[in-house]
Structure formats: C-alpha cells, structure tokens
C-alpha cells in the first residue's frame, strides 16, 4: 500500500515542474481557440478529450485560417499518431477491466510517458497515471481560463516555459539512454527528426524517428 501511494505520487512529483508550463500553454490554447472562432465550450471539450497540446494548437490554427475539416483533422491526427505506437509499447503495464484500462490510457501524454520510464522501454503504470492526473486538470483548467479570462498570463514563451518541455525530455533521455543500442537509437532518432523538420508536416519527424525502433526487430 505504501509503495502504491508512492508510485502515483512519484509520477506526479516528477512531472510537477511542468505543471505551470502545461497550465499556461492551456491558457494560450484557450485564447487561440476563441480567436479562431471555436466558441467557449468546444475548446474545453477538446482539451478534455484530445488532451494533446501540439495537435490542438495545430487544429485551432487551421480553423482560424479558414482551412477545411480534413486539413484540421489531418494535421492533428498526424501529430498524435505517435500515441498509437506508444500505447502498444506500454500495453503490458495496464491491468484491470477493459473500461478501467480505457480511462487510464487517456492519461497518456508525452510527459507522463516520459517520466514513468523505468528502463528497457518499460513504464510504471502508476507513475504514468499520477503524472497524467496532475497534468490533465492543469491543461483543461488552463484552457477554461484562457477561454473565459483571455490572455491573463501573457505569452508563456516570454517566461521561457516553452523550453521546459525539451529540457524535461532531454534530461530523461540522458538518464535513460545507457545501452549501446539505446544510444544509437537516440542519435538516429534525433538526426531523422532534424532532417525531416524543415521538409515534412508537423508530426512526421517524430513518427519517422520512432520507426527507427523497428530496426531493433532485426538487430541483436
């Protein structure tokens, strides 16, 4: 029991430094969504159901620019496609009824996945849930604040909060990447993303980098 509490709490604790960044980007998304003409309810519903920053910003930008439904959905789906690979990879960690697994899986975001890594590509489910459960109200609450209160916090970039995300991922990358194969995968993934960044739509660089792991099927 002691360990259980600690694991949920440990996940929340590890992701806590990102909570202010998540909330203020939630506000920024709410402001953008209202400007884009999405109304007040839709952006909040989207934050609660989609719960993925980059995809929501992309969809709102397309709507603002008068793009089609297909363009908005396509951009967002491309950005979130990586979650399909991640969800299959972390599947063994989930227990309990199907309904429970469905709800718990929705707390998967890059940040909760990253902080719950326990090495060898495995995650600790409780840490992922603890981390996701902390970020979810920040993101949805931030969105509501942005929708109703407007630009109360100013641009999160002014405070450098956009640097918090790559910093978290990099620190975890350094900590987790110990084996030779993992280092090669990290270097390859980073280079692929860098090469594709200027020439492909958002989302593709990350998916392509993830595909590097398929090389692991034949390696060894």
């Amino acid at each position: 029991m002691q360990k259980t509490t600690r694991s949920y709490r440990e996940g929340a604790k590890r992701v806590a430094p990102l909570a202010p960044a998540s909330a203020s980007f939630g506000v920024a998304y709410g402001v953008l969504a209202v400007t884009a003409g999405m109304g007040v309810l839709a952006p909040i519903v989207m934050s609660a159901t989609t719960f993925a920053g980059a995809a929501q910003f992309a969809a709102a930008s397309v709507i603002r620019d008068g793009g089609s439904v297909l363009a908005a959905v396509g951009a967002a789906v491309l950005l979130n496609a990586r979650y399909l690979a991640i969800s299959v990879a972390i599947a063994p960690a989930f227990r309990g009824s199907r309904l429970r697994r469905l709800f718990e899986s929705q707390l998967l975001v890059d940040e909760s996945w990253a902080v719950s890594q326990v090495g060898g590509g495995r995650i600790e489910r409780r840490m992922l849930i603890g981390a996701g459960a902390l970020l979810f109200p920040c993101w949805v609450g931030g969105t509501a604040l942005g929708v109703f209160g407007g630009d109360v916090l100013g641009d999160p970039k002014r405070l450098g909060l956009d640097a918090a995300f790559p910093a978290l991922f990099l620190v975890l990358l350094i900590t987790l990447t110990v084996s030779r194969r993992a280092i090669i995968a990290a270097v390859a993934g980073g280079l692929i993303a860098l090469a594709l960044l200027p020439i492909t739509p958002a989302g593709v660089p990350v998916i392509a980098a993830g595909a590097v792991c398929l090389a692991g099927l034949r390696g060894r």
Partner: protein, 101 residues
Amino acid sequence: MSTTWLVVLLVGAFTIAFKATGPVLLGGRELPSRMTDAFELLAPSLLAALVVTQAVGGKEAIVLDARLVGVAAAIVAVRLRAPLIVAIVVAAVATGLVRAL
C-alpha cells in the same frame, strides 16, 4: 454540425483510440519478445525526436532561438547533479532571461 465541432469530435475520437489501442486490446499481456526488443528503442528514439522538434522546431522549419540556451542550461544543471525539477526551472529561467534582453 459546425466545422469546429466536427474537428473536436473527429480529433478526439482518433486520439482516444490511439491512446487506448494498446492498453484496451493488449493490456496486461506480455508482448512477443521481438516486439519488446523493438519497443526498448522506442523510448530513446522518440525522446530524442521530441527534444529536437521542441527545441528547434518551427513551422516546417528549423528555428534556432532562446530555447537552445535553456536546454543547454538544463544540461549543465544535470551535469552539476541538480535534480530534474531544478534543471527544468533553470531551462525556463535561462530562456526567459535571454528573451528579456
């Protein structure tokens, strides 16, 4: 249905399905060892790609800006054995300071 609600509905449905696929369909079962071997490399390759896209990503472009200073500061902090939370705060503060200059 309005464009907005159609987008909210479709993106939500796709994303929920993406996140749920593994846990709902394969939850609690061990994956074949060949797949586990591959997924072992998913974390480093995806994390590295997230670092790149979030540190230098722009609108289909590489953008070098104050974020790099923050990320570099975080590396220094980690090298000095600072805990994760400190490294992340250092990254944000360094980036914010450069932008304020």
